[in-house]
Symmetry: C2
Subunit: 485 residues, 2 copies
Amino acid sequence: MSIDALAVRLRAEMTPDQVLTDRQQLRTYECDGLAHYRVVPALVALPHTAAEVAAVVRACAGVGVPFVARGSGTGLSGGALPHAEGVLIVTSQLREVLSLRPADERAVVQPGVINLQVSTVSKEHGYYYAPDPSSQQICSIGGNVAENAGGAHCLKYGFTTNHVTGLEVVTPDGDLVRLGGAAPDTPGYDLLGAFVGSEGTLGVATEVTVRLTRLPETVRTLLAAFHGTDQAGAATSAIIAAGVVPAAIEMMDALSIEAAEAAVHCGYPAGAGAVLIVELDGPSAEVAAQFEEVSRLCDANGAFETRVAADDDERQLIWRGRKSAFAAVGRISPDYIVQDGVIPRTALPEVLRRIDEVASSHGVRVANVFHAGDGNLHPLVLFDAQVAGEEERAETVSGAIIDLCIEYGGSITGEHGVGVEKAHYMPRMFTDTDLDTMQLVRCAFDPGGLANPGKIFPTPRLCGERPGRRTGPHPLQESGVAEIF
Amino acid sequence: MSIDALAVRLRAEMTPDQVLTDRQQLRTYECDGLAHYRVVPALVALPHTAAEVAAVVRACAGVGVPFVARGSGTGLSGGALPHAEGVLIVTSQLREVLSLRPADERAVVQPGVINLQVSTVSKEHGYYYAPDPSSQQICSIGGNVAENAGGAHCLKYGFTTNHVTGLEVVTPDGDLVRLGGAAPDTPGYDLLGAFVGSEGTLGVATEVTVRLTRLPETVRTLLAAFHGTDQAGAATSAIIAAGVVPAAIEMMDALSIEAAEAAVHCGYPAGAGAVLIVELDGPSAEVAAQFEEVSRLCDANGAFETRVAADDDERQLIWRGRKSAFAAVGRISPDYIVQDGVIPRTALPEVLRRIDEVASSHGVRVANVFHAGDGNLHPLVLFDAQVAGEEERAETVSGAIIDLCIEYGGSITGEHGVGVEKAHYMPRMFTDTDLDTMQLVRCAFDPGGLANPGKIFPTPRLCGERPGRRTGPHPLQESGVAEIF
């Protein structure tokens, strides 16, 4: 069946305006947040219900056409990059909060519901939805599920996978199944966990049951300025080692502070080579006790100025610098790559030094803004695409940073996902047998390989084969530091 | 290949004394903690290393002989029940703590390591292993992984799945693969989560990386006596609704208090129709503040006496009654069934009343001891096997309790697993399509169906088939209360 025939069928099953085939309209969807990868889909479907999502998937499965699900399109690893001969299923029309049960600490929402909206509707009941990607004002819960989205407060509260207890999913066959439920655990295999973070390769979520978190009694935010990232990194380790689990510990280096100042005049202490933003939340008594300790540990590790937000306005001002940092880098560089990798917290100073060495040796500037508490780096590699060779050098440095993350026993992605961007790095972390085992599960769900092909795995596997034996040492063992965390 | 030939091969690959075929020796392994199901295995293998586990599995796979993994054999749902024509792989010889890295909050252990041992070796560094099944002095980490074991303190700290970050696993093909790692999240599918709780049907864990938890600064334990379970249930709901998350909230009813008194003289308040044990842990400041609130809420909900443990001895005394309760029931009844089900916390008083009605109408006594905080019931259904008809009536009541759990939107198991005992209940919670989706994953790992066959799923599936479409409403929707939690 050609795409034209598929369009006719889908227009009959839904309404004509829910099926786009006009080239100009299709171009709207040619990329997600990883904007330097662009593919125009053959058809865009805009279902309004789970049944319509299932109908679209079933139609694709019936004729062997690939399909890609997309929420708000804010992903940073190209997980929602369309397939040129495929259907893009946009779930943003499924945007109802189906039920809100604060007494049970649960909400059931459709996948197109915006992350922040869950917190907004829960607020009057004293609850919120904890995972807070920086795109939380526009990103969708469905996309969060696909990428197992994180955020600044995931240090204390965990990632999306820790806050989703149930899903309704359209499998690549077009079946509607339920994974998990409202209870914390269900009998049988935990396919819910496998689905969260599977980047659209196991099916399309059509209903998401999320855990609501009680709004903390108190939130206190502290900004500590250091002469350099070594000291700020040491302070971070000391805070965690003391048994304090802050809601967030964010670090910015000199270059990112400069960018944030230029953009939003956040007034961070002059001369700071690094700042830490430490946020504590919880019962007032606990927060007060921990706050003393955090201040003391910052001072002991070389903080030359410490500020405490006296009210919500001051708190917002402290956060404004951090939250604007990515966009602000545009003030000091026409182009940049946002990298995402993880290292053991204790290796922070050393890895930051090595990033600096690599960047210097290639004549490239790197601004570091990151979730220090869980070692999740977000180096911004700056370049000017108009200057010949700069983009290539930036890409070299960006790749070298990921190599460093692996060398120190970390991971190629902390919260942005593998998508198309990092599929080629997967063999650095996993053996062929490891990857084959994952792909066996993919084959179980999607033997035709139609659900978001080309994402996560560097090489698709033919689903009839059985895996071969592993030969040689595990890639994570070769480095000798596989278990640093 | 006959079992005899398999024995010859395995004796050559390991040492002769690692392979048991003598009937008397085999009978030692005929059951796990679900002692009324007994099957003598055809062969018992006692590997000492991961390579030996892989060799045994590969030998079984090569000749199509089923295999069952067993840790300490303390499971309560028959998950480690042997297969009469199969090999039982006992992992208790793999009992080394391979690495202990308190600064990284991780330990790497072999599957035969005893649960409590992880806490014992971590204690001097200020850490412990949080999941605490009541069998923690003898149960193995490998068995905990297979059954996703829980315990009294899982209300606050979560189940095994929340404390395992990495596994080395022998797949049913005999391959060694790594799932997860030391980091909190890894790229690709979360097969780690699917493996934990898969009851030995996806392979055998040979190395487990666990998260260590910091020992709390303070632990305070309170015993509150009520006239009945209605009041104790209401107090439980009130505590959780107030935003307090105790380390544990345990409830015992009159009959279980009677049994515990007879066995260990724990001295609970006379005339109590129910007691709550509430334990708070954390920073001293937080615990002190929350303790006031918990006491007040117990009083407000009808506690007629409240005791606070003044020191560790008093704390142990309070817990002794609770911890002895299962065994103590032997003092008041020659036989009993330990049931395990989950209901929404808010439904506790109503479900307890209905359990009482069902039990009375069948002339059966039921003692209730349970993790009230997460609605995880452990009704002990008493009978005397010597009295004709009593066992059958007890089984009827035990089954009716599970029916009630499902009716109220709960689950057929909270922490004991499905095993052989509850496989026939699975279609009450899942559609054919839901179960088929799980079994597709099983087929991906184990197309020959050799890994612990007969557990979890009521009907094995032929691995060549694709699943059919779901027809009719989802079983959890028929009740109209699918989303109570």
